[in-house]
Amino acid sequence: MREKELEKLKDYKYGFSTDIENFKAPKGLNEDVIKFISNVKKEPKWLLDWRLKAYNRVKVLKEPNWQKPKYPKINYQDLYYYSAPKSFKEKPKSLDELDPKLIETYNKLGIPLNEQKRLNGIAVDAVFDSVSVATTFKDTLTEKGIIFCSISEAIQKHPDLVKKYLGSVIPITDHYFATLNSAVFTDGSFVYIPPGVRCPMELSTYFRINASDTGQFERTLIIADKGSYVSYLEGCTAPMRDENQLHAANVELIALDDAEIKYSTVQNWYPGDKDGKGGIYNFVTKRGLCKGKNSKISWTQVETGSAITWKYPSCILQGDNSVGEFYSIAITNNHQKADTGTKMIHLGKNTKSKIISKGISAGFSDMTYRGLVDISPKSSNSSNYTQCDSLLMGNKCGAHTIPYIKNKNANSNIAHEATTSKISDEQLHYCQQRGLNSEEAVSLIVNGFCKEVLQQLPMEFAVEAQKLVGISLEGSVG
């Protein structure tokens, strides 16, 4: 009985796909497709020009190749850059008009879009393939002056804000994937918190890739105005498919004076099967700018999915006294690969940053922490503390640590620590002696190992993440 239950859990439970008629742009990457996307979304001319400018740069840029996990060449002409449920040709005005199949999909994922059904007060923006399907709790937020909507809607309704901040942290002159995103991004979330407002609930986006042969390129833009606070969550899943799918999102955060942004991710894209077939390539660019004085940006991520995870949520600490934090758990099993970490770029005076990274690799997987701490000559009295620990299970997997440390300021301190170890037999023995089976014991020990990071997550997420940590490692200890 017990074994059967375990067998069920082992499967990726979000691996179903929704049978829904899609409305797609023609395959391939060219100017017409970009014009098509811009046209469907009824975008103003400046944005189309911006996209085309980015596209012209994509043409001359080369994909970076310094990362540890190598992947087969992606044929960018064989992808759909826009895919939306057919019923979305005209955007439904309310939930009642929404295709019931979509509502059902999100219910299955545990994200009810119907506000009454929700027990916890989390406002959700649900993104399905290339479009945002629904945003909940809009009224409550509008009362406070908070703007939380899809980026397409923001382009229509708040063009000034979008124009001012879009691309200000990740410019179109950035690396290949970020620039590609700028050219073809389809949807994503937009958040604006007005001065002095503390956002009363967690904001959340749920990303779902459904269609096959589709790349998902969403763009998230969060602006916290002076003295405001927001906590933002991001979750993601995809169906089980044999081919690899590309997910290249851009996330830009801007914190003005005294503002604080907390960004949490639980990433559970389909990781591929036991032999490493299929799965998502998660090549995401996330960057936060602490623009104002005393601002703070904090990234928390739990990375359990994706065939290849390749991302570095970063903080640019421009304002004096600003703070950047990065908490990460990355788990790789079977043939998964991850090359993740952060960049802390200290520009302002008295800036502080903290990096806690926990990597766990099992099976045949490969896990790399790669990070940069750069304290510039003008950034006096700054400090950084970095701790990255790795846990290895078995000798078929790898754990690597590649920190880059640059200190150009004599009044600043950088401390870095890293360890690599395994779960000791004593620990396992102790737990098993008290009646836990080996898998439960491993799950318990790993959760303990990750505790510092799990604590940073909002309550509901923390519970989910804890379960996820256990499930991801199932079958890794024999």
Partner: protein, 416 residues
Amino acid sequence: MQNFKTDFEKTLKESNLSEKEIAFKNINAKEFSKQGFPNRKDEDWKFSDINQIIKKEIGELKFYTGQSKETEIDKDVLLSEIKHNKLIFVNGQLARTDFSSEEKNKIQFLDNINDIEEQSVENSLINLNNALANKSYKLLVKKNYQIKNPLIIYHVSNNKVTSQNINLKINFELEENSSLKLIDLVKDKGNKNFINIFYNFSLEKNSVLKNYKIDQFENYNIRYMFNNIKQSSNSVSETFYLSKGSTFSKNEITCDLKGEYSSAFVNGIFSLNKDKHHEIKAKINHLVENTKSYQLVKSVLENKSRSVYQGKIYVDSKAQKTDGYQLSKAILVDETTEFNAKPELEIYADDVKCSHGSASGSLDENSIFYLMSRGLSYKEARELLINGFLVEVINQITDEPIKKLIKNLYGLKNEY
């Protein structure tokens, strides 16, 4: 690179080499012309763009040395504090050998050996060395022989050479149960040269190598030293760097721990000022079970200087029970200095104990205040703290007379 081609052909014409050797040199020369000097686009040279540095400090480099007769040795070059064996290289040419204090035939120094390793290297500076080093030397320590006095290799250049590329290559072989104490002492009077030294060490069972590289005296040369060490079971290698005098210096070391219970120790001091830019790059490959490595590098940086430490511990999936440790610390004395570090771990085995740490910052104000409140001047307090910081590395040296010698050379009193 035009310079290199003509100079290489000239060198080749004058030398008396076998066909095999010529072929070997040609391959390496071709590879070097293709790659050129490494620049910041190479990950290994990310923090020290030697291509730019040579351009800026030297300009046009001459690769042709010729057989100069100018190998006179100034008296003030030799060390008198310690009894030792000598190998003296003047401008890259062997000027004197002296093993008189050792037993006969236990240590052999051979030149012109036709020992060509066919292995290809991905390092254009080694290619350059292979192509131009006019002789390939070999030092052999016979089975069961422990060297009595240290061997000092003097690297001397006189003021007649400038803008010159000097290459030197020595292979060392330590047979079973043997030991070698080796000091590399840099004494330059020539300026603005690019000196490229390549050592290959092969350590058989139970052998012990202690290598101390001392670049203490002020000079304006660009220096690259590469130690390639292969270790069999139970062997020990200890490498120490005192990195201070040259304008630019990069010391690279690769240790392959191929036998069980072998261990490698790499320790280094950077004590830099006046625009100097030094780097240590260490790579320790743990390839079998039960091996150990330890790295400790400390920097004190003043006046626009910068130091770089790139350390890597690689643990193969077979190498269970590995013990690897890395620590790098830096004191940035003033605003104009820079410390860069890249301490890497690459691990494929699960039952290992590997860790690294890196810390950098300013001198501790509280400690200075404490010392000053006890009557020291600011200068004295600062000196005491810096010396105390650095002496920890010198104290790792396991050979007492050499430890004393190095403290002396560095100008530390014995009470530290």
